[in-house]
């Protein structure tokens, strides 16, 4: 289903509607839901009749001075915000545009990308949770399904494999103040990072510093990958196959099948007896 089928509005008007809805979404994040405030905000943004148009199309309704998004409005506003913020991420992380160039271009881009492209961008960027300004990106279906078929360029550290290396793209630390310590330890956007191992904890090398961290933190460090590890100790391999040859070789050949010949003792509930029979 394309956007035009989903929201039957003439195209010229659509951009305006989307802009207005995006603005309302942001205002609601900030906690402004009063009708007058929003009317003024829309007027200041350059569409004086924007508010009435939204009411006419049935995207919002005003009750007792409070403004509510209708289910259709909610869906479209969420979608627009998601597209805008993903576009900003794309321009910043992958195309490395200058900060001043990001905003105007993202504003154009958000109206032209379709639902499929949005999902692809989101997957490519490793399902980011925040835009470069630090505002939350509403999750889409792809984030909820955790799709990763499309090998992402930027992905969170927790999705990388042991041996991968890259550069830190950004940290998602706004909702996790503890992680400011990461910055102090040298995990700063642009720093080269190498992932040594992922279990029992993540171990990374950033510059000359070696850090151990748990997966909850690794999930908030986003890395632009430059080198691929994998190899004999990669995470692709099942764990059993990695370990078994070592363990197997450790048992002398005449002793490998001892457990087939083992008979439990008569007093099997007495565990000291049980241990004696094993040794």
């Amino acid at each position: 289903m394309t956007d035009t089928q989903k929201y039957p509005i003439p195209t010229a008007e659509r951009e305006d509607v989307e802009e207005s809805l995006g603005l309302l979404w942001r205002q609601r994040e900030l906690g402004f839901t009063e009708g007058n405030q929003l009317r003024n905000a829309l007027a200041a943004a350059g569409s004086p009749d924007g508010f009435d148009r939204l009411v006419r199309h049935g995207f919002i309704k005003e009750e007792l001075g409070q403004v509510w998004l209708t289910p259709t409005g909610e869906e479209l506003a969420c979608d627009v915000t998601r597209r805008l913020r993903l576009a900003e991420r794309l321009l910043t992380d992958v195309l490395s545009l200058d900060r001043n160039a990001v905003d105007p271009n993202a504003c154009v881009l958000e109206h032209t990308i379709s639902a499929e492209v949005t999902e692809s961008i989101c997957t490519l960027l490793g399902h980011p949770g925040e835009c470069p300004h630090g505002h939350p990106i509403p999750p889409g279906a792809c984030c909820r399904n955790n799709e990763a078929q499309l090998s992402p360029i930027v992905s969170s550290l927790s999705r990388l494999e042991a041996g991968d290396s890259g550069r830190v793209a950004y940290l998602q630390i706004k909702d996790h103040p503890e992680l400011h310590r990461l910055l102090a330890m040298g995990v700063i956007p642009g720093a080269p990072i190498h992932l040594h191992q992922t279990f029992p904890a993540f171990v990374v090398e950033v510059g000359e510093t070696q850090l151990a961290l748990e997966s909850a933190i690794a999930a908030r460090i986003f890395v632009r990958r430059t080198g691929r590890g994998g190899g004999a100790f990669g995470r692709n391999r099942p764990k059993f196959r990695r370990l078994s040859p070592f363990l197997w070789r450790w048992i002398p050949s005449h002793d490998r099948w001892w457990f087939l010949t083992w008979k439990p003792p008569a007093f099997w509930w007495n565990w000291t007896e049980l241990l004696k029979s094993v040794w």
């Binding site: 630090g134 310590r181 102090a184 700063i188 029992p200 904890a201 000359e208 151990a212 748990e214």
Partner: protein, 651 residues
């Protein structure tokens, strides 16, 4: 170990830098005083000071805990920041790891905002050279506006230059915060702040960065609530967190500096120690390495120290020479039976206190300190944190808590102080509780190994599994009871280094001196107390009072009461009392096992108890004490019942 109040006439120079870059080594070199040196972040958790002759004058030299950032996220970092703000030292020696220049310079730029004259010390210059890094100290000095010295503190190279450079220390340029956004932010903050707010640039930057721990510095009548709301208003104007902006601005500067200063001469391949370091972190072969290390320590301490050395000292030196010699001398010179009893009687100072302290505990503690020093200096201990992180999560802790727990095996008192490296109050309480309850200290371990040496290994197995089980269960229970969440695991892993025998020797002798100074007097007091209790017949009274617990619930002979009474003075002393009971053949296997478990779990020693009061406050300390008593008696009694039912468990 405290901020001593040296007269203000002597100028102060303070060592500040990232963790594990060698501040304490430099401190030792400058002052001739020994500060504990190890290869893991967080060895120093408090300020220590000494006096030195630098640049032709007398200086007070201060060593501080390492900091990742001066916007502190743990208590040891806070100690350093508070020192800088409160004492306003005359010169900062900013110690950097030369091979990790980028990270070190972040701390330099952060310190620059304190507006204190500074010298930058590029320590570990030999390791940087090994990695093919060539640093241009002159350029760095010109860009920062302060003298820059290269040193290798462990060998003393460059220290003469360092002493001279203190004289030419200069206030560095504010390179790191020279960004438009921050400048305007600071301006806005100045207009928002009340007039009597602190004017220091460092404090204002901290306010801007949202470091709430700085609020108490609002001297001059400004309430911290006012400061907080003013700072909050300014912070809200930024689209991105100002703290991140500051870090990124500094990082940009640091990269420029690094590009100018560092030239790479080609890098050597990773050596054996690097590879060992990587292996020790992985589950395979990390757990195998852990097993081998544990076995080696057991062989050295448990078999050689507790077996061979103790046997020689006790049965040959004391039993054949010292005790008979002392008896002979005393009988000759002191004909009074009272004095004779007090010196060589069953509760005599020579026959009991000295033989416990020197024959039984000293050899084991000495071997333990050697083994422990090797582990500390190699950088192996933090790697255990990674392996054990998952286990510690069960107890509401994370891998960082492994370090204080292992240090507790050395001395629980010091380890209680090390809980400062933990992030949350909840974690600090849990670790303090576990240190008081289940972690035996080296001296206690010594006696326990000595008691178990001649018995079936099953006793040791039962003891170990009860301890591990109690640790896990208590930690789990405490984490459910206490409010608050577990903090996330984030820790720096130092490189594996070959331990310097000189440092191991130094560390062991410092610790042994401390042991002799602290423990021997306590042993003498304890023995005297026992002597008089026995003489006045109070011992019998105490035994009668506690007999329902000791004999009924725990199933031990009445004389064990004395061991638990003095166990509070020194845990090992209590254990030693049990040892003598066992030597006299008064304990059977079940009773040995129960008493081993009980003396391990029972009350911490006086020193640790006082440290608990200092670090946790009286409420926390009393709660922990009650919990320890209840759990210890409960578990030991339950074990007694289980062993009565299944005597086969200990053979």
């Amino acid at each position: 170990m405290t901020t001593s109040s040296v007269s203000t006439k002597i100028p102060t120079v303070v060592l500040v830098g990232n963790p594990n870059v060698g501040k304490s080594v430099i401190f030792g070199r400058l002052t001739g005083r020994y500060a504990t040196v190890s290869n893991y972040p967080g060895t120093t958790v408090d300020i220590s000071s000494g006096v030195s002759w630098l640049a032709g004058g007398k200086w007070r030299v201060v060593d501080t805990p390492g900091v990742n950032s001066l916007w502190p996220s743990s208590e040891d970092e806070r100690v350093t920041r508070d020192f800088l703000l409160k004492e306003r030292p005359d010169v900062i020696l900013n110690v950097l790891d030369a091979k990790n220049l980028a990270r070190g310079l972040m701390s330099t730029l952060e310190l620059a905002d304190f507006h204190i004259p500074m010298v930058v010390v590029l320590n570990l210059a030999d390791e940087a050279l090994d990695r093919g890094l060539d640093l241009d100290a002159a350029t760095l000095s010109r860009r920062l506006g302060v003298p820059v010295v290269k040193t290798v503190a462990t060998t003393g190279e460059g220290l003469a230059d360092l002493k001279k450079a203190v004289e030419t220390a200069a206030v560095p340029k504010h390179l790191g915060t020279d960004v438009d956004e921050i400048r305007s932010g600071l301006q806005v903050l100045s207009s928002e702040l009340p007039d009597d707010a602190p004017a220091s640039r460092a404090v204002r930057l901290a306010l801007l960065a949202g470091d709430d721990s700085v609020l108490t510095w609002g001297a001059g009548g400004t309430s911290s609530a006012e400061l907080y709301s003013a700072a909050q208003r300014v912070r809200d104007r930024f689209a991105r967190p100002p703290r991140q902006l500051l870090f990124e601005a500094r990082d940009g500067r640091v990269r420029e500096l690094c590009a100018e200063v560092i030239s790479v001469r080609g890098r050597l391949g990773p050596g054996l120690s690097h590879r060992l370091g990587v292996w020790a972190l992985r589950p395979w072969p990390g757990f195998l390495i852990a097993g081998v290390v544990l076995y080696a320590v057991y062989q050295f301490v448990g078999v050689f120290g507790a077996g061979t050395a103790v046997d020689f000292l006790e049965n040959t030196v004391f039993a054949e020479w010292i005790t008979p010699g002392a008896t002979w001398l005393i009988e000759r010179f002191f004909p009074w039976p009272f004095v004779r009893d007090i010196l060589v009687g069953p509760y005599g100072v020579v026959s009991m206190a000295f033989s416990y302290a020197f024959a039984l505990i000293l050899p084991i503690v000495a071997t333990f300190f050697i083994a422990f020093g090797l582990l500390e200096d190699s950088g192996y201990l933090p790697r255990l944190s990674v392996l054990l992180d998952r286990v510690f999560r069960l107890m509401g802790l994370n891998g960082r808590a492994v370090l204080p727990m292992i240090l507790g095996l050395g001395c629980d008192t010091m380890a209680t102080m090390t809980t400062r490296i933990l992030d949350t109050k909840k974690e600090r309480i849990i670790v303090t509780l576990l240190l008081a309850l289940t972690v035996p200290c080296s001296a206690q371990l010594a006696v326990i190994l000595g008691m178990a040496a001649g018995l079936s290994p099953r006793v040791l197995m039962v003891w170990l599994s009860v301890l591990v089980g109690t640790t896990l269960a208590t930690g789990w229970g405490a984490s459910k009871l206490l409010p608050g969440a577990r903090s996330t695991f984030l820790m720096e892993i130092p490189p594996i280094r070959r331990p310097l025998l000189r440092n191991i020797w130094l560390k062991m002798s410092v610790r042994l001196t401390w042991y002799l100074k602290e423990v021997v007097p306590l042993f003498i007091y304890g023995t005297l107390a026992l002597f008089f209790l026995d003489r006045w017949g109070w011992m019998k009274t105490a035994e009668r009072i506690f007999s329902p617990i000791v004999q009924g619930w725990l199933g031990l002979p009445a004389r064990a009461t004395e061991a638990f009474l003095v166990g509070f003075l020194r845990r090992d002393y209590g254990a030693a009392g049990l040892y003598s009971l066992q030597q006299d053949g008064l304990l059977n296997l079940r009773q040995v096992t129960v008493s081993l478990v009980l003396i391990t779990l029972f009350m911490p020693c006086v020193a640790q108890w006082l440290m608990m009061f200092k670090e946790r406050g009286w409420k926390g300390a009393l709660t922990i004490t009650v919990a320890v008593l209840a759990v210890a008696l409960g578990i030991a009694g339950a074990l007694n019942r289980v062993l009565l039912m299944f005597p086969g468990l200990v053979g």
